[in-house]
Amino acid sequence: MKKLNIDLIIIGGGPAGMAAATQANDNGLEKVLIIERDCELGGILQQCIHDGFGLISFKERLTGGQYAQRYINQVEAKGIQVKLNTMVLEITSDKKVYAVNEEDGLLEISAKAIILAMGCRERTRAQVFINGARPAGVFTAGAVQRYINMEGFLPGKKAVILGSGDIGLIMARRMTLEGIKVEGVYEIMKTEGGLTRNIEQCLNDYGIVLNLSTTITKIHGNKRVEGVTVSQVDASMKPIEGTDRYIECDMVVLSVGLIPENELSKNVGIELDSLTKGPIVDENMMTSIPGVFAAGNVVAVFDLVDYVSQTGVIAAKGAMKYINGTLDLTNTYISVNSGENVSVLIPQKIRKSNLDNKQDFFLRVREENEKMKLETEWSDKLVQAGKFSMVKPPEMIHITLGEKELAQFTDEDICFHMRKES
């Protein structure tokens, strides 16, 4: 077994991992290693050939590949060490990483700090309980995206898409442009899951119909998909009798949500948040194990890659402080709580002593609404943290509290509320 000593190991070479690696390098850390299970860096970005990435980071409309390439070029230029085709089998709480690849065989790498950046995976058919047979032709949207965009295969001729998340919408357009007939997008919720601009440019541009409050109740065909039954659903999302309709198709594309991939985190005993399904992190994106940080979609599913990279930068800065011994690890945490109309919230806890002159927060709302204000509440104080003309559950909201606001923090828990502007 080959043994290595590294300052910072980053598990995952997607946008979070690469941003973390370049940041750590910029801060002067020499022994940084990215471990990537695929044959190249970039992660899922490489299969996202559509544009719209990087508006915040680069003020440009880039494709996924272009966005990834900018970071890959930096990683290469800085000479950051990368192990591709390498699978991490286990991490331990004393920060040893066990990994395998064909060149090195089994590796035991001891690190001063670890950043988890494994991303997320797609929810499958069983997790949304679609009944029927189990033929070929049922795919997650991401698998279809990889087949079409990277490997050059068409996995069907006539598709029905379940779920109106962004990947489903993007794939509706991609499949149409590749000559696959899209027979419609079906969404069990009463509102669309993806961004409005994607409804506009991916569905409306091509006359693809979005059917809300409708779901697939059965898949037909034993060998290959022959069709689906769709039904409208009531307020409790149960199919309404008599509304079922048979649609002929040879392919079912599922875009029914993403889940942070945390098997490594679970096995080492990192505390997870039941809402985000990712590690509970603090102001530096540090998990419940000191010296183990997490960034990007492994923490919570973000809607914009720019935010994913930003969390990588935060985690890298935190890891640097941890390695240099300048991180306070002893003071008690202040808990950061979701209040009115706030669901996901990151970080979930902060140590006041570790705060710099600004602190980023990422959150999602529970319900869509117009003319809203975000308020931060602690003790009996309310501070306005931002105004929003429109808030929607699919959009992650990013706010930065500055020195002035942070100065008002006491040792009491903080709560965020998204309230109607009076």
Partner: protein
């Protein structure tokens, strides 16, 4: 006998309106015909006929409205086979490569016989076997005196030897039947008495408190339990794979994608089997065709049973729930099947079910809402701490049931050279070793001069599972074959080396599902979302076929349709 049947029909308010024609043959087989409104009535009438004492079998041709009888015309295929002509000569042809057929093949491989095991699907285990929950029943629930009861108790005891020789995981954990009320206690008593009569070792009734000492997450409302320590569990497709590999090692030819179209007899002697691959000469045919056993028997003119598919759905959970319950928990039965309940696979995934629904179509393996509701509601009353959100997949299989609801394992009374192994429904998996032995005895009794092979090797070597190795073993494996360092399936930690080995194996895995059953690639929580494209690539490379030719489970189940650019 027929009068008794008609009087039973007339006593039934739902069934008495129908005009049913029943005829009895000199073999005491009842043939039924007529038309009814719904499929369940076809089944009910068949069961009434099957319950009459002294009946050998029920052939049920009753049709239900709106359900077209499935009749396949093999004429053109048969003429194609005749054109190919004779492709081989065998001593024994076994039809069906499920756990029963492969078990028989491996048992008969001890003898100096040329054996072909033929299977219409593209892989072994593709029928009833693959959708079994893996329970090795202890044998308390079959009626005393039935062949089922005898085979089950014997088969259960034989599993330890099978597991040892064939190196498949087998956990003899024991199983429960849970009681919640005084009414249930009566059932438990009945099972206890029956289990005693059937010869189930160690059977007893215990308090919930005692049971919780070793099975702590039993539902808090359970009061008393029937406890049978001999029950266990396996992965049915692993058992079948092990049997098939050992059979091949001992000279059996396995022919996949080979469908029996006809069986030729001459003066009531089996002559040959006509398949889509050509004609195989043989003087013995063993019918282990599962759902299609009645159709195979019909080919030799000795069909005295109709197989009616009874669908069972199973729900599989993420193995992060490993250990929450380790033993099967049953309840008093419904209809003609055992009440399925929660248990755990050898890999540690909780598995709940099966349900039991009669369906007319032998290929209908749909999962319907009623199946899921039945399983989830039922199991949720038996175990605590497993969330519905951790379901990773669900699937259905079909039990091959006759109307007499017992196993039929006997040489044909009409045709020499034909052995029926039919109606092998639950607990068929548990009975498999005893069934194989019984068929061996029948065959040897009729062919007493059959000699034993000198070099029969009962051992099948344990396959290498990278995920189960220590770090040191992993390191050594990678040194021997670097492909062990290429993890393809992330969820289950399955390497490229294991996948290649499955594709090049003794029973080559040529489809995604076959690779999945051999290696577990794609069986995890992402259900092949990430590794599916990689496995397609490896299969295409290893078999030298285009990726668009790779299938999920054989003919016409292609994963990809075309290349996007020429």
């Amino acid at each position: 006998m027929l009068n008794h049947f008609y009087s039973l029909i007339n006593e039934n308010n739902e069934l008495k309106k129908y005009e049913i024609n029943a005829e009895r043959t000199d073999q005491n087989v009842i043939h039924l015909s007529g038309e009814v409104d719904v499929w369940q009535h076809v089944i009910d009438i068949g069961h009434i006929a099957g319950s009459i004492k002294g009946i050998k079998g029920v052939v049920n041709h009753i049709t239900a409205q709106n359900i077209k009888p499935q009749k396949k015309d093999n004429a053109s295929l048969i003429s194609g086979a005749k054109q190919i002509g004779i492709i081989d000569t065998m001593d024994v042809v076994i039809v069906g490569a499920g756990v029963i057929g492969t078990g028989i093949a491996r048992e008969l491989a001890k003898y100096d016989l040329k054996i072909a095991l033929i299977e219409k699907n593209s892989d072994i285990s593709e029928g009833t076997t693959k959708a079994n929950n893996g329970m090795i029943h202890s044998g308390y629930d079959s009626k005393t005196g039935t062949l089922k009861a005898e085979m089950n108790v014997k088969g259960n005891a034989m599993y330890s030897k099978w597991a040892e020789e064939l190196n498949f995981p087998f956990n003899r954990t024991g199983s429960f039947v849970a009681g919640f009320s005084e009414e249930d206690d009566e059932y438990l008593e009945m099972y206890y008495e029956r289990g005693k009569a059937n010869g189930v070792p160690g059977i007893e009734i215990i308090s919930a408190q005692k049971a919780r000492e070793f099975e702590p997450n039993l539902h808090h409302t359970i009061t008393k339990l029937l406890w049978t320590p001999s029950a266990g569990y396996v992965e049915p497709y692993e058992v079948t794979e092990a049997l098939a590999e050992n059979a091949v090692d001992n000279g059996v030819s396995i022919m996949l994608s080979t469908e029996v179209l006809n069986i030729i007899t001459k003066e009531n002697n089996v002559q040959s089997v006509v398949t889509n691959k050509g004609i195989i000469q043989t003087s013995w045919v063993i019918n282990a065709a599962g759902l299609y056993a009645d159709e195979i028997a019909e080919m030799v003119g000795d069909c005295f049973y109709t197989i009616h598919p009874r669908r069972g759905t199973l729900v599989l959970f993420d193995k992060s729930n490993k250990g929450i319950i380790e033993r099967f928990i049953g309840t008093p039965p419904k209809n003609f099947t055992k009440g399925g309940g929660p248990m755990q696979t050898p890999e540690g995934n909780p598995i709940w079910g099966p349900s039991a629904i009669e369906v007319p179509d032998k290929e209908n393996v749909d999962v319907d809402q009623q199946d899921l509701d039945f399983i989830i509601n039922k199991s949720a009353h038996l175990v605590e701490g497993i969330s519905r959100q951790s379901v990773i997949t669900f699937f259905s299989g079909l039990r091959a049931c006759t109307y007499t609801e017992d196993f039929i394992i006997e040489a044909s009374e009409k045709v020499k050279g034909f052995i029926h192994v039919s109606g092998i429904q639950s607990p068929g998996l548990a009975s498999a070793p005893a069934i194989a032995q019984r068929v061996e005895n029948i065959f040897i009794e009729l062919n007493p001069s059959t000699g034993k092979k000198e070099n029969f090797n009962p051992i099948r070597e344990k396959p290498i599972h990278f995920r189960e190795c220590t770090f040191k073993e992993k390191d050594e494996l990678i040194k021997k074959d670097p492909k062990y360092a290429h993890v393809i399936c992330r969820c289950e930690t399955i390497t490229e080396a294991e996948i290649i080995r499955a594709i090049r194996g003794k029973i080559p895995a040529r489809t995604l599902d076959a690779v999945k059953r051999r290696t577990r690639a794609g069986m995890g929580r992402c259900q092949g979302g990430f590794c599916g494209p990689r496995v397609v690539e490896i299969i295409s490379r290893e078999l030298g076929i285009d990726p668009t030719e790779v299938t999920l489970k054989g003919n016409t189940s292609n994963v990809l349709i075309s290349h996007s650019r020429k």
